[in-house]
Symmetry: C2
Subunit: 239 residues, 2 copies
């Protein structure tokens, strides 16, 4: 019986992949993924059957991966970061029946970005995607409000694209109601991979023009502060 591995490849650079993700990609017959993500691991899978499709082809890729397993191939379908958050684990489990599945966890963008910003998370923490393609905007807004009001550190995924420019503005309007304007905000583009750009700003000074779909944002809590170009959120120890 062949198996379908759902593999989180981490943020993109080889060093942040887990040993297991590398091992599985080397072992399977077929690898399925979004073009751009396949390119991040192409040197690992040169001898494999590679099935790649374009943006928004998520469901097609799931179908092709399930089909490959049914055709007798050990198969990996890849997500960047961890496949269990906004990744391929959900749709595969929704669609696949009667095949053996294993999820291989990975380093998600928020933790990769946090490691580059210092220690901005450290405490109770919420991840919210600003993409309203699959989720009602009202629900997303209510989550931003709840997280900001109860002083979570917040990470925003999919913050802004060519066709979604207003969501990030609205998100920060909500956040500004509850978080001080001087709260540190980390903005990392291409976190954990080639082309990385790190910026540190504040809730009141953030420049939305710098933000795109390759950007992850981390907004501190009431205790967060900046020092020597890093964002630090105390855990609460008496230091």
């Amino acid at each position: 019986m062949k198996k379908l591995f759902i593999v989180g490849i981490g943020p993109g650079s080889r060093e942040h992949m887990t040993l297991k993700a590398v091992e599985i990609l080397k072992k399977v017959d077929t690898v399925v993924g979004y073009n751009y993500y396949i390119d991040l691991i192409r040197d690992l899978i040169e001898d494999k059957e590679i099935i790649s499709t374009g943006m928004r082809g998520e469901i097609e890729r799931c179908k092709l991966a399930i089909e490959a397993v049914k055709n007798g191939k050990d198969t990996a379908i890849i997500s960047t970061g961890d496949a269990g958050i906004y990744g391929m684990a959900g749709p595969i489990y929704e669609m696949a029946k009667g095949i053996d599945i294993e999820v291989v966890p990975g380093v998600t963008a928020a933790f990769s970005a946090a490691s580059e910003l210092g220690a901005p998370i450290m405490h109770d923490f919420a991840i919210i995607s600003l993409s309203d393609l699959l989720t009602p905007w009202e629900l997303i807004k209510s989550r931003i409000e709840a997280a900001a009001k109860s002083d979570f550190v917040i990470s925003l995924y999919n913050p802004r694209s060519k066709n979604r420019q207003s969501q990030i503005v609205e998100a920060f309007e909500i956040i500004s109601k509850y978080k001080d304007g001087n709260t540190p905000v980390g903005i990392v583009r291409h976190s954990g991979r080639k082309g990385r750009e790190i910026k540190i700003s504040t809730v009141k000074d953030i420049d939305f023009e710098e933000i795109d779909m390759m950007t992850v944002i981390i907004i501190g809590n009431k205790e967060s502060f900046m020092r020597d170009g890093k964002i630090i959120t105390p855990r609460g120890y008496d230091i």
Copy 2:
């Protein structure tokens, strides 16, 4: 100039470590950590100077790690999971001045547990620690309430110990006000390492006696369901 690496070793089994975490542990002169976590990587660091202390020795370990760097040793201080959430990154950045620091991200327990439960996270998601040793219980409760009310998938860290038994009961009283009693709950003990135990229950049926400090809990959102022993939270695709 010597360097201090703050290394997330992932949930514990070697396969879930990143390539970089392994590389750094092999490269440094000195490794500092909690006894129990040092044991998880002892075979990797046999030739190193090892400084380990007991539970609640966090600040002492930070001091010893900073001192080691100042004494001319490349040093790694380890956390399980990712060091940037409830780990050593915060206190190190708070305490260390004038030394070179790098955080190496890792797979945090929620994502390791999620991979073992199926695809329970998938969507907007909050991590909350139930430990009130360093955080007021009223603040923690307000975060549980906010996250449950706005239908986040929730992961609870440090859910219950010998001396903290009431917090998990109160947490589920709050969660029950907003989440249906049949909402799936994943309970994973020793996720991603030897001795792993996976249980799936519901908000109304969860057995607190099964939960300890080695347990991570994931509570679904309104769309989450169980199938074939897995928890699945849809991303929202039309499948």
